[in-house]
Every structure is written in C-alpha cells, then in structure tokens.
C-alpha cells in the first residue's frame, strides 16, 4: 500500500512541482493538495493521509499551527515540514507542535523521499543543516530524542550534556560562568521536564538520545 501524501503549500507552482516528483516515486501517492494551513487541517481530517508535507509560511493558519491541530486531532498522521527557513528555531517549533520531520525546500528531492520514509519508520527526520545546528548525531533520530529539543531549552540541554559527561554542579557552574544555584535550578527543571529523578538516569537518557558520545 502506497504512502498517502498530502501537500500543503500556498504556492501552486511548488505544489505542482512536488506532486510531480513524489508521484514518480514507487510506493507514494499524493492524495490531495491544500493551499493554506486551514484547508490542510480540514483535508487531513477528511482524508487522514499518512504524511502531510507542510509548508511553514502560509497565510491564515501557518504550518506550525496547522501541524499542532493536525497532530492533536490525528496523532498517527506524520507531518514533515518543507520550509524555506534554515533557522533551527523553525524546526524546533515544528517539533514542539508535533511535527516529525523538517526539510529545506532547496534540499535535493531525494531528501524529501528519505524524510517521508524516515517518519513512516516512527523516527524523526531533521535535514542535515538543522540536525547539525542541534548537534544531533544523525538526521534520522529516535522520537524520544526530539523531546530533548522540544522540551528542554538550549541552556538546559547544555547542562544535561555536561551532567551526562560526568561534571558535577559546581564544575558546570564554573564552565558556564554562572552560579551553582542557577545550575541547580536547571537540573531540577530538566528532571521535572523529562520525569527523570536521578543523575544516573539522566546520563543514560542523554547517551540514548545521542546528546553525548559513549566514550566516557
């Protein structure tokens, strides 16, 4: 059974281009197109596609909001953002909204296909520039890894990584030029957000999510 794809983009030329390219692929079919966020939500609700290729900058309801509504309504629908924006913050927002992939529009077409396959495999896809910006070890990541990006702030991720690498609170405070109390606050916040309650568990988590390398 072919993967059913919905294309949501306000640019007709882009939709047509994408449709032509995707339909050349075996095992993928474009079941509908939407020209803005609101219709994307409506059509998804009606057709329940497997993957929505979602532009971010759209009039009315933008891609991020549309994604949020889609994932809320149909958690099984995978949303891959196809964006002009290389800024990692867009990717982050997309992940927070429940998106599963983030691909730049000027990427090679193969990447779109790769991203669709990746998210269909219950993983997260971040195009290489964005993955690099997140210091992620690969483009195709386990879903749990995404929570690190979507749930923790940059500073919290930094603290988590340093904790996982065996630094104590005092050492981290010295490394980041902040007070011990601040690091302590970050640590408490991280454990609360990830629902993990010991440093050993935190280290394990960080290793598993690729936040740090294994050679400790």
């Amino acid at each position: 059974m072919a993967i059913r794809v919905l294309i949501a983009d306000d640019h007709k030329i882009m939709r047509e281009g994408l449709r032509a390219l995707i339909e050349k692929q075996k095992g993928m079919e474009v079941i509908a197109e939407a020209e803005d966020g609101r219709s994307a939500v409506q059509i998804t609700g009606k057709l329940a596609p497997d993957v929505v290729i979602m532009d971010i900058g759209m009039p009315g309801l933008n891609g991020i909001e549309a994604t949020r509504q889609i994932v809320k309504a149909l958690p099984t629908v995978k949303v891959v953002a196809l964006s002009m924006h290389a800024d990692k913050r867009f990717a982050l927002e997309m992940l927070k909204a429940g998106g599963s992939g983030y691909v730049l529009k000027n990427a090679a077409f193969e990447e779109v296909v790769h991203a669709i396959n990746c998210v269909m495999g219950q993983k997260i896809y971040l195009c290489p520039p964005v993955a690099g910006a997140f210091k992620a070890s690969a483009s195709c990541l386990p879903i749990a890894a995404a929570t690190v990006f979507s749930v923790l702030t940059a500073r919290e991720r930094e603290v988590l990584q340093l904790l996982a690498e065996g630094n104590n609170t005092k050492e981290i405070a010295a490394l980041l030029f902040v007070s011990v109390k601040t690091i302590e606050t970050h640590r408490v916040q991280i454990m609360k957000k990830l629902d993990i309650h010991s440093v050993a568990e935190l280290t394990k988590y960080a290793l598993r999510e690729g936040l740090t390398s294994i050679d400790l």
């Binding site: 882009m14 971010i56 913050r89 927002e93 500073r155």
Partner: protein, 724 residues
C-alpha cells in the same frame, strides 16, 4: 697862707700830758672854737665810729715809730660831715721815749666824695662787666687780655684770672685765626666791627665747632689812637642750629607741598601770592592759557578778576570765594570747574582755606585735577541713566522689592502688565500679584533665601483678577545704604506658553507621524521580505528541486555537470535571498515570535562579533502585535549594536519576562559602562539611536531605562504593554 689856702691845720698831741692842741686852721676846718684840751675831748671832735680806729692807728704809729696816716670824719656843728686826712710823726726824746705826735690835718671831703663816686662807678662797670650775659673782654694792642668777664671766660673754658696778661692765641688758639685779623683791623682803622659771625672752638669744648656773634670796638687813648680793643661776644651756636632746624622744617614744608599733586599757593589778606608749590608752577608753565603772572608777588585776585572767556563765571565765583575766606565770612570755600585743554577734557576743584590760629591772614588756594573722579562720576551718572532707561523702557516688569514681599518701586512695564499704577502695585505687594494657589511660589522664595537668587514660572494676577503665566527671576542684593533688597523681573509668557503648547502638539503629531512612518517602513520591509521569500525564494527552491529531478533523468556527463553547477548557483541565490529576507524583516520574528526572533538575532551577533549572548525567557506566553514585536525587536537590536560598538563587553544577557500585563526585557552587559546621568536625551555620538529607540517604544506605550556607571557594565530595562 699856703696852709690856709689848702685848708690844712696843724695839730699836736703831747704824749706825756695827753694834751691836744690845734692850730687856728683846724678851728676853721672843724667849725669849733677848740684850741687845747685833753685827748679825750679832742676825740669827741671826731665821728664816734671813726674815733677808735684813729686812736689805735696813732698808738700803732707811736709804738712802731712809723708815720701816722689816717682818714676820718668829723661832724661840724652845722651838721656837715667833713672828711679829714691826718698825717703825723712821733717825736722822741734823746732816750728814745715818745714825746709827742705832731701832724697836719687836711680837709679831703671833696676828694673823698669824688673817690666814692669813682668807686661806685667802678663797681657799676664791674657789676655790668661781671653780670653781663654777653661775653666782654678788653685787650691791649698786643692782644693780651686786660680784662674779661666770667661769661666770656666760661665760654673760653678758663677761669677769668688765667686770661689776664695772656694773648688771645695763647688762651683760645682755636679762635685766634678767626678773630686776630678783626682785632688788628680795629686797631689799625680805629673803627668798630659789628656783628660778625665767628666760628671756631675753645678749650671748653675741644673739637666742637661753635658760633658766636661778636662786635669789636676800639678803645682810644687821649690822642685818638686805639690803645686796645673791646669785644662783645654772644654765643649763637644754639640759635644757629635752631635756625638750621627752622630752615630744614621750612624746606620740609616746601618739599611736602611740592610733592602734592594739587597746585597750591598761599595768599596774604590782599590776595598777593606769597608762595606757590611745584605743581602750581608746573601747571602755570605747562598751560599757555595761563598767561598772567601767577607766581610770588602777583595778586591772585587780580588774576581771577581779570579772567575772561567761557570761564568768567567760574573765575568770578572763585574770586568771591577767596574774598569771603579772607574776610572771615567763610572758613573755607571750594568749587569744581571745567578747564579743558585742547588735548583733553579736564576738571578741577579749587579749595580755599585759611591758616588757623592767630597771626597774619594767610589763605591757601589749592587746585586739584579731579578729571579721573569726574570722568568716573560722569560714567556712573551715564550708567545710572542707562539703567534708568532700561528700567523705564523694559518690556519686562521690573520691581525693586524687600525680601518680605513689599514693593518699593515698579517700572511702567510692571504697571502695564498688572494693570495697576505704581502706587497700587506698592499697596498690593508681592502677595497681591501672585496667584496664592500657586505652590511654586513658596519653593521659589525658599530657594532665593538659600542661594540668593531664584527663577521660575508663576501664575500672576492682574488688577481685574485675570491670571497670566509669567517667568520670574529674583535676586537678593544689598543697596548702598546696606539694606537687603530684592529685584524682580517678570516676563509675561502667555504667548510663549501658547507657542509651547503648539510646539508640544506639533511634537506629538510629528512623533506619531514618525512612528507611523517607521511602522509603515517596517510593514513595507516585511512585505518585500515576504515577497522575496515566498515568490523568488520558493521559485528558486522549486527550480532547485526540479534541477535535482532533471539530473536523475540523465547520465550524460556534460549535462549532469551543468545541472550541478546551476543547482549550486540556485542554492547561492536562495542563501542570498534568505539573508536579505532576514535583514529586511526576519521571518523567524514574525512567524515564531519575539523570543525566537531575538534568539536568531543573538546568534547572528555572536557569529559576527566577539560576544556571547545569552537569552533567558520565563517561557510565559507573551502576546504581541506586529508593531510591538518589531519595536521591541529593534530596541534590543539597537542595544546590542551599542554594546558591540561601545561597551567592549564579553557577554550580554537578554532576559524576557512577563509581568501582569506587560513584557519586561532587560539587556545587561559586562562592558565598560558609562555615566548614565551624563547622557543627553539625544546627543551626537550614537545618541540618536537611543533617542529614536525611546521614541519608538513610546509609540507602543513602552519605556526604556538605563542604569550604568563606569566600570560596572550597563543594564537597560524595557517595558511595554502586551497586546490586549
């Protein structure tokens, strides 16, 4: 006969019988008929006081076998006293025993009287000689002292006795050279030399020069030839030094009045000039118009009376003044008068005073050049006149007041401004002119009390009760009499206030216009950015994708290489579009909000400048409209620009926080800092950026505060309302 003629009688005393017999001549002499008798009865003929002396002389002559010679007096029966001179000799017997004393008696009454007279005169001369306070001396032709009185002897320093018989040169060698020629001259010519001042020294005070006034007289013998010289000597050493002292004091007085700058002359009661000082002389000589003789001997009144030309009035007034002082009608007189020379303007004051005390009338006339004073006085008058003009013609109200609020005087502008006469202003006082409800007055009065001056704006009240705004400046000062006074200058600022409010409303209009312009610019940028992004960017992206697809369809090397090149170019174009889009209007800001926008901005700054920027967000929802969004974003960008430009900071921290209904943003750096209080609202160096930032924030109802000090970094706090 001879005996009779000479009134000489013969007497005999028989020493053996003590009988005394007298010749007839003796009867005549004595005026008594007594021829013989005892010695005792004979003695009764003598003046009792002389009798004993005569008898004892006789006994002595007998005992010593010498001549008896005695003078004595008898009193004739008619009461006349006769002086008799008796001379006798003792006759002895062969055994040598005295027999008798025989002698003559002669009437010497006349001789005796003459002798007494001579003695008396001699005594007079002696006492004159000796008692004279002048030194007197008689010298012979050899210039030996014959006689000298004590006064002169004392001057010479030797007892009088040691002078006699010695020459002048021997006694007073220090005088000899001076006086010997004079003595000789007098001896030679027989004429006196009078009142010669002689100086020299005497043994009395060796080495001390002294002065004498001496007169020399010839002492002529019967032949009319000078036999000697008499000298009268008065010492004048002290007189001389007193004279010198007098001279000196006279010179001192002259030097003193010569040293005075005033021209001074002394007149007698007739106006004759007795003396003038140097200044007088110099002035008369230096000023050709003064042609008349105004020196000693001239009559000053005649000069002043004769003055003509433009100075006549001054001259005659002056002459009248002198006359009044001379007559005693006035004790002093003075008059100022101009006396311009062709070269300069000059003023003088002439003073006439009278010598005090008794003595002849002496009038001092002093003319002093008072041009400097006069010019200063004229300048003062002129400046007072100017101030008076300012006072009278000022457009501002000017009042002279007392610190307690009383008004002493007010200028016409004050009267016009308050609609009151000066008298009404005085009656009203300060409290009647100021709106009593104006609280600023008390603080102005306190400031003036503290600092001596104050200025500010107040609301004033006209007579008709209408009010007007005024700018007042007031100052404490002390007048010439030492009273504390205050000045008040009031400027009606009604028009200025109107203009100010017009300016304010213009400013507000301009401000909203500027804000509107800036928002319009932002919207336009955003529109362009969106266009660029959505159309060109998307198209380029699609082109890139399609080129990718095209490349898959062929294996022809030339084509694939060409396609790869084009894809590279397209990718560059996309990057460029993205970068321009970000600079024009960062999509991340519009699409993802302020935190993401600022985070992207911080990343851009960190990439371009050596600074670490940390963003802390409380992760509370902050709903902002596009205008607020862009204003806050631009404000933070401006602050970051300032930090990298000026602060030399290593790190900056941006903190976002949601307050009840506002957003608070702080931007803090660890840079050099600056004196925040010294920062002008909008200055030249980089100040305009902050100024426009403040304005933009004001446009969205926000504000910006800066806390900084040198060396402590800078903390800027921005607060703006959230969207309702």
């Amino acid at each position: 006969m001879a005996l009779a003629a000479s009134h000489t009688g013969i007497w005999e005393w028989d020493l053996r019988t003590d009988a005394v017999s007298l010749s007839r001549e003796c009867f005549d002499l004595l005026g008594v008929r007594w021829t013989e008798g005892t010695l005792r009865s004979a003695m009764d003929l003598l003046m009792p006081s002389d009798a004993l002396r005569v008898l004892s002389a006789a006994r002595a002559a007998i005992a010593e076998k010498s001549v008896f010679r005695e003078e004595f007096r008898t009193i004739r029966p008619d009461g006349a006293v006769l002086w008799l001179s008796a001379i006798g000799q003792v006759e002895y017997d062969d055994a040598g025993a005295p027999l008798r004393l025989v002698g003559t008696a002669q009437d010497i009454t006349e001789t005796k009287a003459l002798q007494i007279e001579i003695n008396k005169r001699e005594q007079w001369v002696d006492s004159f000689f000796m008692g004279a306070t002048a030194g007197l001396a008689l010298l012979d032709r050899d210039l030996r002292y014959i006689r000298i009185n004590e006064t002169l002897a004392e001057m010479n320093g030797l007892p009088a006795g040691e002078h006699i018989g010695r020459t002048v040169r021997e006694v007073v060698p220090g005088m000899a050279d001076a006086v010997e020629p004079i003595f000789r001259q007098v001896l030679a010519t027989g004429r006196p030399v009078l009142n010669v001042e002689v100086s020299g020294e005497t043994p009395r005070q060796p080495g001390v020069p002294r002065q004498w006034l001496e007169s020399f007289f010839p002492m002529k013998g019967e032949d009319g030839v000078a036999q000697g010289v008499g000298a009268i000597v008065v010492e004048i050493t002290e007189l001389k030094s007193a004279e010198l002292a007098l001279d000196e004091s006279r010179q001192f007085a002259q030097a003193t009045i010569d040293a005075l700058s005033a021209s001074i002359c002394v007149l007698d009661e007739a106006g004759t000039i007795l003396a003038v000082n140097h200044a007088w002389r110099a002035f008369a000589e230096a000023n050709p118009p003064v042609r008349q003789n105004v020196f000693e001997g001239a009559n000053y009144l005649a000069v002043t009376d004769g003055a003509g030309g433009p100075d006549t009035a001054d001259a005659s007034a002056f002459a009248a003044g002198i006359r009044a002082v001379i007559s005693g009608a006035r004790s002093a007189f003075s008059r100022e008068y101009p006396c311009h020379s062709p070269a300069e303007q000059r003023w003088f004051i002439g003073r006439v005073t009278r010598f005090p005390g008794p003595g002849p009338v002496r009038i001092v006339v002093a003319h002093e050049n008072i041009t400097t004073c006069k010019l200063a006085e004229l300048a003062l008058q002129e400046s007072e006149e100017r101030y008076r003009m300012l006072f009278e013609n000022s457009m501002d109200a000017i009042m002279l007041t007392v610190p307690d609020g009383r008004i002493l005087s007010a200028n016409p502008a004050a009267c016009l401004m308050f609609g009151r006469t000066e008298a009404e202003l005085r009656a009203a006082g300060r409290d009647g002119l100021v709106d009593t409800g104006d609280s600023r007055m008390q603080s102005l009065i306190e400031e003036r009390k503290r600092t001596g001056r104050a200025s500010g704006e107040l609301t004033f009240v006209r007579k008709d009760g209408s009010r007007f705004p005024g700018e007042i400046s007031s100052q404490l000062f002390t007048d010439r009499e030492g009273n504390t006074r205050t000045s008040m200058f009031i400027h009606d600022i009604t028009k200025r206030k109107q203009a100010e409010s017009e300016v304010l409303s213009y400013r507000d209009a301009l401000r909203s216009l500027a804000l509107e312009l800036s928002l319009t610019e932002e919207r336009e940028r955003h529109r362009i950015a969106t266009d660029l992004h959505d159309n060109i960017g998307q198209t380029l992206a699609l082109a890139s994708i399609k080129l990718g697809g095209l490349r898959e369809c062929t294996d022809i090397t030339g084509v694939t290489d060409g396609v790869d090149d084009i894809r590279g170019l397209v990718r560059q174009a996309i990057e460029y579009t993205r970068s321009v889009t970000f600079d024009l209007s960062p999509p991340v800001l519009y699409e993802l909000g302020l935190v993401a926008g600022l985070s992207a901005l911080a990343e851009q700054f960190q990439g371009r400048h050596a600074i670490e920027i940390e963003i802390t967000d409380d992760e509370q929802p902050k709903v902002l409209g596009d205008d607020q969004l862009i204003a806050l974003y631009k404000a933070v960008r401006e602050l970051l620009m300032n930090i990298v430009k000026h602060a030399k900071a290593r790190k900056a921290v941006i903190t976002l926080q949601r307050n009840a209904d506002s957003i608070g943003i702080t931007v803090e750096d660890d840079g050099t800092g600056f004196e925040a209080s010294a920062m002008k609202p909008y200055g030249s160096a980089g100040g305009f950026g902050l100024f426009s930032t403040r304005e933009r924030l004001r446009g969205i109802g926000g504000r910006l505060e800066i806390a900084s000090a040198p060396g402590t970094g800078t903390k800027v706090t921005i607060e703006a309302p959230l969207q309702q």
